[in-house]
């Protein structure tokens, strides 16, 4: 089957959103470097110097302002913009159907305006609430309005993706969904399911608290925030996994080891990504241990598709490596295209995800959570997941997009391989050191951890080594950003195969199976959410009753 589609509009959209994503990486990264150096014991507090220049309300105020910017820019802006961009780029290519241009225009406008409003609030210090914005700390209404516009804009894009799917389904009845598009759909299904509780609680509690000074309940707000917050992790991760499934077989010239396994993984992600938020509240008072335990088990279940994915990708590599003459137990490992920075970046991201997955299971483990909750351990953990499995995948894949989407040669091509290696090595040093400091009780988020001289000595060395690791991976990021913006500005133009694009299915599309029945799995996921959360909701609303408190500006 051969279809011709013109992806002019999608490519325009992707060029803008991906560029915004990397502007966010640049700014968020600067704050990251400032804070990791400043909070390291016995290292210079850079925010002290900035405060000395008369900026802001003191070194710690600037630190928390920067930390809010770091979290929002990297965890929300970078990820959301890149994800909509790469999904817009891939959808017409893997599905042979365009995305409705109106949804692209509207979503871009909403997301850009929303981001600008939230950015103003953060930069002027009107929103020092960190990216989790727990009530009763409140930010300026501008912050919530901006965030809401960003999220609603992404919903409009999601609607565009779903409409494309329905169009494709009408034209191709009874045909199996291509795996890459299955991944994109899964991403946005999880995103909608995740953001519904967030939008609900922000409208119910945060906006009235911020605008009108209304009282709100802290436990209720946290419950809904984390109902969103854990699924947010899968919103970041699913496009990265989709890119692994899409690009690794392509780079190796073999089919994916098992498309069935990939689809089962995506189904499990839809099923269990959302009803697991209580694992972020294991040490919260006021939630019955049985409800926490139930969600702990569900968390273990949602870890399983990640394990299936790792197997599937590595099995694909082994198959290709053996076909290429690599034999013995590990010979196939040497037959991989390691010189390709895209391939190497994706595989190093996958390996780091292994570390993030194991520490994630520890975080969510009922009893063990006590030891690591709100310590530097958690910081180490999410820098391996979102900070590497996701961001390194996005950066590495962008080397292809510079050529195929922006139509430019990558400048400084010879150093490209240094980017994934520096990022991986630096992140290993950073995360393992923060795991170590966290196990000794060193807190996350706190600007200065010396506590008037009573800092436990076992925190000092790991935190200093972590900062060195952070500088190493930041260097990788800097090289990447120079290449990205430099290529866009001055890379040699290469003629694009656009706007005519030929889509050929690599093999004959199979018939749709039970695995292509997305409606069924969504219904199952909703039921699972109701089961997982109804106990805690009944306890909070009816058995105990709320205990609202007035909002406070930080």
């Amino acid at each position: 089957m051969e279809t011709r589609v013109y992806s002019v509009k999608e490519d325009w959209y992707a060029r803008i959103t991906i560029a915004v994503a990397f502007i966010a990486l640049l700014l968020g990264g600067v704050f990251g470097v400032l804070q990791v150096i400043s909070r390291t014991p016995y290292w210079p507090n850079l925010y002290e110097y900035l405060a000395g220049l008369g900026i802001g309300g003191g070194a710690s105020e600037l630190y928390y302002r920067g930390l809010t910017a770091h979290g929002v820019l990297l965890a929300i802006v970078l990820t959301t913009f890149y994800i909509v961009g790469v999904s817009a780029y891939l959808t017409p290519r893997v599905l042979g159907v365009n995305i409705k241009p109106q949804t692209l225009n509207v979503s871009l406008a909403m997301m850009v305006i929303g981001t600008a409003l939230a950015a103003i609030a953060i930069i002027f210090g009107w929103a020092n609430v960190l990216y989790t914005f727990y009530l009763p700390l409140v930010a300026s209404p501008l912050f919530y309005i901006g965030a809401a516009l960003l999220i609603l804009g992404s919903w409009v894009f999601a609607a565009g993706v779903f409409i494309s799917y329905l169009e494709w389904r009408r034209a191709n009845p009874g045909v199996a969904i291509p795996v890459t598009f299955f991944g994109i759909m899964t991403t946005f299904i999880v995103w909608i399911m995740a953001t519904i509780p967030l939008v609900f609680i922000v409208l119910k509690n945060h906006v009235p608290a911020s605008l009108l000074g209304w009282e709100a309940d802290a436990l209720e707000s946290r419950l809904f925030f984390w109902w969103f917050g854990h699924a947010l992790v899968y919103f970041w991760l699913l496009p990265a996994i989709t890119i692994w499934y899409y690009y690794v077989p392509k780079a190796l010239g073999v089919p994916l080891f098992s498309e069935t396994m990939a689809k089962i993984a995506f189904m499990l992600f839809i099923l269990a990504s959302t009803p697991v938020g209580l694992h972020h509240q294991l040490v919260d008072p006021g939630i019955n241990p049985y409800f926490k335990y139930l969600q702990t088990v569900l968390t273990l279940i949602v870890a399983s598709p990640s394990m299936l994915t790792a197997f599937n990708i590595i099995a694909t590599m082994e198959r290709a490596g053996r076909a290429g003459g690599g034999d013995g137990l590990f010979g196939w490992l040497f037959k991989q295209p390691w010189r390709d920075p895209v391939f190497t970046g994706l595989i190093l991201a996958l390996i780091t995800f292994g570390s993030g997955g194991i520490t994630g299971i520890i975080n969510a483990s009922y009893q063990l959570n006590n030891v690591v909750h709100n310590t530097a351990w958690v910081v180490g953990h999410f820098h391996t997941t979102v900070g590497t499995a996701v961001v390194l995948t996005f950066m590495a894949y962008t080397y292809l997009l510079i050529r195929d989407l922006y139509g430019r040669n990558v400048i400084l091509r010879n150093v490209s391989l240094a980017v994934p290696i520096l990022w991986f090595v630096g992140m290993m040093i950073f995360s393992i050191s923060y795991y170590t400091a966290g196990l000794a009780g060193s807190p996350r988020r706190t600007s200065i951890v010396t506590y008037g001289g009573s800092i436990p000595p076992e925190w000092v060395l790991p935190m200093q080594i972590a900062a060195i690791g952070a500088i190493i991976f930041s260097l990788g990021g800097l090289i990447f950003l120079v290449q990205f913006f430099g290529s866009l500005a001055s890379g040699a133009r290469i003629p694009l195969t656009q706007p005519t694009l030929v889509i050929m299915n690599p093999h004959k599309p199979g018939p749709a199976t039970i695995l292509d029945n997305i409606r069924l799995i969504i219904v199952a996921a909703i039921i699972l959410n109701i089961i997982a959360y109804s106990g805690a909701l009944i306890e909070i609303y009816y058995l105990r009753g709320l205990s609202p408190v007035p909002p406070i500006h930080p």
Binding site: G58, S60, E61, Y64, N128, Y134, P136, L137, A218, R222, F257, S258, V283, D284, P285, G286, I287, P289, K292, Y293, T296, V297, L300, S304, L308, F311, A315, R319, I361, S365, Y366, Q367, N369, N370, V371, H373, N374, T375, A440, G441, P443, R444, R445, T446, S447, I448, V449, Y451, G452, S454, I455, P456, R544, G545, L546, S547, P548, V549, I552, P554
Partner: protein, 167 residues
């Protein structure tokens, strides 16, 4: 070839299932059969008032080695800032906040909980017999721009008789 690969696939899936079942069972056993729960009771401030529970910050020794410690966590300090316990066997903490969310962790112990405003968090800690000396108590949740100033001290004193007996 195909079937050999499929065997590995099934082995992997079995391993995943075994990990899930094994970890779930172990957590249930320790949580519900051995009472090791990562959690604590909570009641609202209003419930505390109605039940006549005193929220006066301070330390009370209600029996030999049995303590009740009430802590008011607020921007940006703990009240009291120093808690001294002599030969503690069993300590019931009641921690509450009237302003924003805080956390309370005693570094070097398993005590690590969230403190939500409007609620009293109550939990029991049985200090290890060899716990002795000064412990750093710190706020583990961002509570405003003075968060880094929020810490306190716990001192555990051991009489030589108990050290000998408990050693």
């Amino acid at each position: 070839m195909e079937s050999r690969e499929a065997v590995f696939e099934y082995i992997w899936i079995l391993l995943i299932v075994a990990v899930i079942v094994g970890l779930s069972a172990s957590m249930a056993y320790y949580g519900f059969a051995r009472g090791l729960n990562p959690t604590c009771e909570a009641y609202t401030l209003e419930e505390a008032r109605k039940a006549g529970i005193s929220l006066e910050p301070g330390v009370r020794e209600v029996g030999p080695g049995i303590y009740e410690v009430t802590i008011d966590a607020r921007q940006f300090t703990f009240i009291p800032r120093e808690v001294v316990l002599k030969d503690p066997n069993r300590v019931t903490f009641r921690v509450y906040s009237l302003d924003v969310i805080h956390g309370l962790s005693i570094v070097g112990t398993s005590v690590n909980i969230m403190v939500l405003p409007g609620y009293v968090a109550e939990f029991v800690w049985e200090p290890p017999k060899n716990a002795k000396g000064e412990f750093l108590v710190l706020c583990t949740e961002y509570c405003g721009i003075g968060h880094q100033l929020m810490y306190a001290k716990l001192v555990i004193e051991r009489s030589s008789a108990q050290m000998a007996g408990g050693g």
